[in-house]
Amino acid sequence: MFPIIRLVNRNLTISINPAFLLWQIIFPVIYIFIAGFAYSSLIQEVPFGTKGLAYPAFLASGMIGFNIMNSTLVSGIIIWNDRKYGMFEQIMSGPFTRPHYILSNICTIGIIGLVSAALIAVIGYPVFFDSIEFSLVTIPLIVFAAVTGSVLFGSIASIIATKLRSSEGFNVILNTAFLFFAFVSTAFYPAAGAPEPLKTAFYLNPLTYLVDIIRAGIFGEVSELVILEMGILAIIATILFIIATKLLTKLDF
């Protein structure tokens, strides 16, 4: 266990800097308040299960999912930098194993995801306030979403990082993929009003599932669909994690 904690300590040290905090926490919070209230005049209410949500509350809950996904970029960047700057070999020649390395990356993005999501939830609390419905499953659902989401998107970022050596290729592909996940999802706008093909695309995107699960937790609407989504998310996360681990294990020196 301790080697993993030491690697997490190192990962956090190299990942957390002012630019990162701005992108990870300040920007989402500002966005919730500005976009949330600016669009409220356009989108009065988002139908959600048996009730309607105010748009700012809908957006803030989507932002938590987006944020969990975004924090996994860190894992891709760590792996890519470690290879580029020779730290991967250095760590692997020290008192660590590849499982230590992989698990420490997951813990790192899990911590960053949970902490920044919690901060956003706390700061954004005023906009949730009306619609929130705490229950026994709220916290477990959010933790499930954070852990599964971290593993899933972290694996995607890690696969991209192990496959691409050039800096341009890595940045372009990683950012394009994550931009696609962010905007072709229900994180920022509801699927309900969207045209049919787009709606289908929304449901080919794991971020949609992630966000649906978080909303179900926060607003207390756990439907059969959500349970199905949890299953699908867990399966995809497992498959991607196995692929990412295989690729990392095969990385040559």
């Binding site: 030491r6 190192r10 020779g86 070999e89 250095q90 020649s93 020290g94 008192p95």
Partner: protein, 312 residues
């Protein structure tokens, strides 16, 4: 006691045998030099010995531990400075030393004092606050080597640690390593620079094309080949037929790089030289310049490598 014991160790990449059945043993408390030209298999050997890669064949015992069965146990006891640069680009020099100590589980107080001492020993105090990405290649190399001394170890692997260092930093590093060996550390050191190996190492293995050509102390290597002299003759004019004229001379090895340069290696240099001079004068060939020097380690090294090439 043997610190490293290697038996018929091989590593193949496809059809390339990067390391080809090497067998050797390294004694504790000594500096063992691995000397060879680029592509000889030095780095691959270091990666095998440090358990970064798996051998294709052979056995490997490091500090009495079977390194193939227990790689992690070995890694806890060794230090490694690889050939390629390794650094955290955004961390400052002092922070990267500190964090490296943390990764090795060195207690916080101890980390601090080691860091301060290493900053001084490696002349890093001036830019201790600078980020690694803002350092020159040589400065970064010094940080990389210094960083490895943040933790305790019984055996240190250094893959061309002086690459990128200026002559004075190079000498300082070698002297630092000598001091550390006096306190009981064992060092496995690779280089393609002979004078370095001669200066630092208690024993030298010459490697080329994945094979060890010789293992001995620097002095013994010199003694073994020390009777040999190198004669260099520079002719005034290009002589194409020269190689056939000189081919009958026994007890020597002659290279004709061009038509004007003749290099002769021989243990009976006086006799050989007389014969060569007679043939040259009989044929009216004029000499521009002539020298005869004892073969130095560098030439032994080059010669062995060349012979190894021609045997292939």
């Amino acid at each position: 006691m043997s610190c490293i014991k290697v038996d018929s160790l091989s590593k193949s990449y496809g059809s390339i045998k990067a390391v080809d059945e090497i067998t050797m043993s390294v004694k504790s408390g000594k500096v063992f030099g691995f000397l060879g030209p680029n592509g000889a298999g030095k780095s691959t050997t270091i990666k095998l010995l440090t358990t970064l890669i798996h051998p294709s064949e052979g056995s490997l015992t490091i500090l009495g531990i079977d390194a193939i069965k227990n790689p992690l146990k070995v890694r806890h006891k060794i230090g490694v400075v690889l050939q390629q640069p390794s650094y955290e680009p955004t961390l400052s020099v002092e922070k990267s030393l500190e964090k490296y100590g943390m990764m090795w589980n060195v207690p916080k107080k101890e980390r601090k004092s080691r860091m301060e001492k290493l900053l001084v020993d490696f002349d890093l105090t001036e830019f201790r606050k600078k980020r690694n990405e803002d350092l020159s290649i040589g400065q970064r190399r010094r940080v990389q080597v210094a960083r490895e001394f943040m933790h305790d170890m019984d055996l240190l692997f250094l893959d061309e640690p002086t690459a990128g260092l200026d002559p004075s930093a190079r000498r300082k590093l070698l002297d630092y390593l000598k001091d550390r060996v006096k306190t009981g550390l064992t060092i496995f050191f690779t280089t393609h620079i002979l004078t370095e190996a001669e200066y630092l190492c208690d024993e030298i293995a010459i490697i080329d094309k994945g094979k060890i050509l010789a293992i001995d102390t620097p002095d013994a290597l010199k003694n073994r080949f020390g009777k040999e002299k190198t004669i260099k003759i520079h002719l005034l004019e290009n002589q194409q037929e020269i190689s056939s004229l000189l081919s009958g001379i026994p007890d020597c090895k002659i290279d004709f790089n061009t038509g004007t340069n003749i290099i002769i290696h021989s243990e009976k240099s006086e006799l050989v030289l007389m014969k060569v001079l007679r043939i040259l004068s009989d044929n009216g060939i004029k000499i521009d310049d002539l020298s005869a020097v004892p073969t130095n380690l560098e030439e032994i090294f080059l010669k062995m490598v060349e012979e190894n090439v021609s045997n292939h």
